[in-house]
């Protein structure tokens, strides 16, 4: 990492550190909830990829939009979401961001510009591009970042929307988090040629960056966001990163597709939080003790939020047919009636 720019960035650095730690703490708690059988369904951990979400989202305002993925908790936290409403959502509680209707794979936080996680791989590429079209047509300055994984580059939708984004010069940044795997398959086995070249073929300026280096990610994103605001765009970024857990929380025995050594190596050498922490200390921005204090505070925040969510009520049964249509209180005549 490069040297600290100047002291007045301290707040920004700290914010990035805090946000990365918050994501890690959120995921550790979510994983515990799963392991202790208190969370319904499965979920996909973002741990290891924190510098991507944070480096990017710290270059954005609340007005700026993101679209997220099945591995979306990191994006959600980074874009400003609150722990309590997130855990409530993961547990299907009424106070969740989506009143429990979305769950982990559909968590959205409209107030901070998160248009939602998406359980269809690549499913949000059109949505992000459409948001950028809104910005342009409505003469608003917001920029949209479309997060997706390396596996999602196999969806034809991406090429369709890149083409239109390029033709129409839309303020959208396609951010591909290349964590080396899609589910249980190595990226090399499912992606021919070069990802960067695929974007470039549409005349899109493309970049590759170390996704474990929050400052590098943030700096590049700031530049590109700035250029988007002045009418340039779209852009493509490939971010090299790594997920620490299995594909989802239930993917425990994974030796058949990747080695424990590989995992250990990334954690040891390229952990985005550890490395950034060290850098903050090296640069004398923070002391080791101060960082530990931050970590502990966030951990206890997460624990409190988990407890809050565990105690929170489920939505009432009569919500089941609410929100099917905007403007219609209840979509069904007899939701709990003769038909069940």
């Amino acid at each position: 990492m490069s040297a600290a720019k100047n002291r007045h960035n301290t707040e920004d650095y700290l914010q990035m550190y805090r946000q990365m730690v918050r994501i890690r703490a959120f995921e550790d708690s979510a994983n515990q909830l799963y392991l202790s059988a208190r969370m319904p369904g499965l979920t996909h951990m973002y741990s290891g990829q924190e510098a991507v979400a944070v480096g990017i989202c710290e270059a954005l305002t609340d007005e700026d939009r993101i679209t997220s993925t099945h591995r979306g908790h990191g994006h959600c936290v980074a874009k400003g979401a609150d722990f309590k409403a997130m855990f409530c959502e993961l547990l299907g509680k009424a106070e969740g961001y989506c009143r429990g209707k979305g769950g982990s794979m559909h968590i959205a936080d409209q107030s901070h510009g998160n248009l939602g996680a998406n359980a269809i791989v690549g499913g949000s590429m059109g949505i992000a591009t459409g948001a950028a079209l809104s910005a342009k047509r409505l003469g608003r300055e917001f920029v949209t970042v479309c997060f997706f994984g390396d596996g999602a580059t196999a969806q034809g939708l991406w090429y369709e929307v890149m083409n239109m984004a390029a033709l129409w010069q839309l303020p959208v940044i396609y951010a591909c988090e290349n964590n080396g795997y899609s589910e249980y398959t190595r990226t090399e086995e499912i992606a021919a040629g070069s990802l960067i070249a695929r974007a470039q073929a549409f005349g899109i300026e493309a970049f590759q960056v170390d996704g474990q280096d929050v400052l590098a990610v943030n700096e590049l994103t700031q530049q590109l966001v700035g250029r988007c605001r002045t009418g340039e765009g779209p852009f493509f970024i490939e971010l090299d990163t790594y997920r620490y857990h299995g594909h989802h929380v239930g993917d425990i025995n994974r030796d058949y597709y990747r080695s424990r050594d590989e995992e250990a190596e990334w954690k040891k050498v390229r952990d985005p939080i550890t490395n950034f922490g060290k850098w903050l200390i090296d640069q004398k921005i923070m002391s080791a003790d101060e960082l530990v204090a931050i970590d502990e505070e966030i951990t206890s925040d997460a624990q409190a939020a988990v407890q809050y969510a565990l105690d929170a009520p489920y939505p009432d049964g009569n919500e089941v047919d609410m929100h099917v249509f905007s403007g219609v209180d209840h979509a069904l005549e007899y939701p709990g009636g003769a038909h069940r």
């Binding site: 499913g123 059109g126 949505i127 459409g130 047509r137 409505l138 929100h323 099917v324 403007g327």
Partner: protein, 332 residues
């Protein structure tokens, strides 16, 4: 003041009026701007609203459908022009997994106010991939509203309502009716969703018909009148929401029903309407509800075959006569 205009012109007016009223309305699709679509339905719009609002896209149906969803979620009200209803298959994911579910999955926080305009209808010699009537597919998906205008009047009024609706709406125009004229008021009007229209009152048999089949039903009713059979013709106008009440009231009066739709019969629109009548007007029925959908075959190109595949007035009238005579059509 009412004048006669074509269905094509009615659609054009609806879009123009709504675009004038609301700057957030945009339209996108293939060859919609200078070309005004292959059916020339949109001619003149780009001259008034410019290419910023009437947007030509590449041949990327999933892509521009997805873009419409995102645009709808962030302040625009996109009208998507899907050149042929047969291309619905290409946009199903963005329409049904994304647009239809956004409001629900977000617990009511996000909306996707968009309109997907497309068409339906066979007997245009366009063969199996340009002749389908796929309304049943989208009607099955919660979160989508589905309109099926049966004339220029409905085409205009329903489309304007669709554009103002905060939900994704799919509207099917019959491509064979674009040049058909009907009386349409000069003054602005909207047609509410979920209110069926009783096209013709009658006592003996209810003909529930959608889109193009409304004409077929009216023709049959006319023929039946000559035989002393009084047929009531009901046009649901929207199949989601479906105005069950008007249909049931009619059947309770007539005791007999035929349901006619141009989609394939099996697992199609006629099944839903017939099943609801069978369930909720059971004790009023004097005869089985007859369904007349398109044949369960891909649409053949050859005129000699294609014309056999869709319901026609003679067939409707014949079925109506049989049930009115008390013939046990399927008693075997």
């Amino acid at each position: 003041m009412t004048r006669e205009i074509t269905l094509s012109k009615a659609v054009n007016e609806a879009i123009a009026e709504e675009m004038r009223r609301d700057a957030s309305v945009i339209l996108l699709g293939e060859d919609v701007a200078e070309a005004g679509t292959p059916f020339k339905v949109l001619s003149g719009l780009v001259e008034e609203f410019g290419t910023d609002r009437i947007i030509d896209t590449p041949i990327s149906e999933p892509g521009f459908m997805g873009i419409a969803v995102g645009a709808a979620m962030t302040g625009l009200r996109p009208v998507v022009d899907l050149m042929f209803g047969d291309f619905l298959y290409l946009v199903m994911d963005q329409l049904c997994n994304q647009a239809a579910k956004t409001h629900y999955m977000s617990g009511g926080k996000l909306t996707a106010p968009l309109v997907l305009r497309t068409n339906m209808g066979a007997t245009r010699r366009s063969a199996a991939q340009h002749s389908q009537s796929l309304q049943a597919l989208v009607a099955h998906i919660p979160g989508l509203k589905v309109a099926m205008p049966s004339s220029a009047y409905e085409a205009k009024g329903l489309l304007k309502t669709a554009i103002r609706d905060d939900n994704p709406v799919v509207i099917f125009e019959d491509k064979l009716m674009y040049q058909d004229k009907a009386p349409v008021p000069e003054e602005e009007y909207l047609i509410p969703f979920g209110k069926a229209h009783i096209k013709r009152e009658g006592r003996d048999v209810t003909l529930v018909a959608t889109s193009s089949m409304v004409q077929v039903a009216e023709e049959a009713a006319e023929a039946l009148a000559g035989d002393g059979i009084s047929a009531e013709v009901i046009d649901p106008r929207t199949i989601v929401p479906l105005d069950e009440q008007t249909i049931l009231n009619s059947v309770r009066k007539t005791s007999r029903a035929i349901v006619i739709d141009e989609g394939h019969q099996s697992y199609g629109v006629t099944a839903e309407i017939a099943a609801r009548i069978g369930e909720k007007a059971f004790y009023h029925l004097d005869a089985p509800v007859i369904r007349m959908g398109a044949m369960d075959v891909p649409v053949p190109f050859s005129p000699a075959l294609e014309d056999l595949t869709v319901p026609n007035a003679a067939g409707v009238a014949e079925n109506a006569r049989r049930i009115c005579r008390g013939e046990l059509i399927h008693a075997a």
